[in-house]
Symmetry: D2
């Protein structure tokens, strides 16, 4: 189904919802509404996250560090260790952190 680009049919001049595509239009509308509802929720939560960081900052914590911590905690500890080991190895090869 879906919408296909067509030359405007005779129904258009009636100003009604495009006839033959009526079903598709309704379907599309439902999809868009579902998406918008979800996006609103997502946006609200994103706002909440920001507020928590702001509150933490006002208490003297560093949001930037906190973000790194949160990211670290979502990762597999083993992965983190391996990555750190690799970084140290590369740094040594480049004569960094002598």
């Amino acid at each position: 189904m879906g919408l296909e680009a067509t030359e405007a049919g005779p129904d258009e001049k009636a100003g009604e919802i495009v006839d033959g595509e009526g079903i598709a239009a309704e379907q599309l509308g439902r999809f868009v509404e579902r998406i918008e509802r979800l996006e609103e929720e997502k946006s609200a939560i994103a706002t909440n996250v920001k507020e928590v960081y702001a509150e933490a900052k006002s208490q003297g914590f560093d949001p930037k560090i906190m973000r790194k911590i949160v990211r670290l905690r979502t990762m597999d500890p083993h992965e983190v260790d391996e990555e750190e080991a690799m970084i140290h190895l590369y740094k040594k090869a480049l004569g960094m952190g002598a």
Copy 2:
């Protein structure tokens, strides 16, 4: 409050949670947990959004266009019109879209 970099105090060798900073540590833990909870919710919703787009696509709709539509609908119509007018003006000045 918050955490400040300090020279290791006498408590550290006990391996305990840093003493005088105990309160701050608890505070930090609560902030991080709140954030993680919110991020989980956000992630779940993002997954839902993707699913709706996927379902719409399976019905023949173009997700890329749908995303633009959703974006347009979130904007103030008046703003959109003004911006479009400006774009047309600039395009004309550049001889585009002749």
Copy 3:
């Protein structure tokens, strides 16, 4: 100067470059051309960067680690140390990396 939204003047029907705004149009064109030229160069260089990473990867190096290395090298070493210290501090407060 610049372009202002105006009701279409009488010059428009001649299909010529908008009259009274001719100077602004030329100016705009020069700005846009300068930008496009620069963007092309930038894009070309970005491609080169990707190619170097790809070549390194084909030699057995890990591009992800390399990117972190490059970023580290651009930073002030002192800043890097401070940040790491803070991360360790926060991790300890949260009982991470036990």
Copy 4:
């Protein structure tokens, strides 16, 4: 080739570039230097782009619109037209822009 995680060999205490990996280390160094050189160029050009936008703005042009214009010009005009047609179609189906 590349670097593999290894226990530090006896060469390390000589303070020299890790022995058996010497070739890989040199290779890595060359890759990193090439990347850094390219990144510097890219950064310089990005600065130039910003300057042009700033200059244009000081002449009364709207940088935001200019950015959209530049983006439009990089796209295939045919693609742009098709996309616009689709958007109009979807908008009509949703009763937008009546």
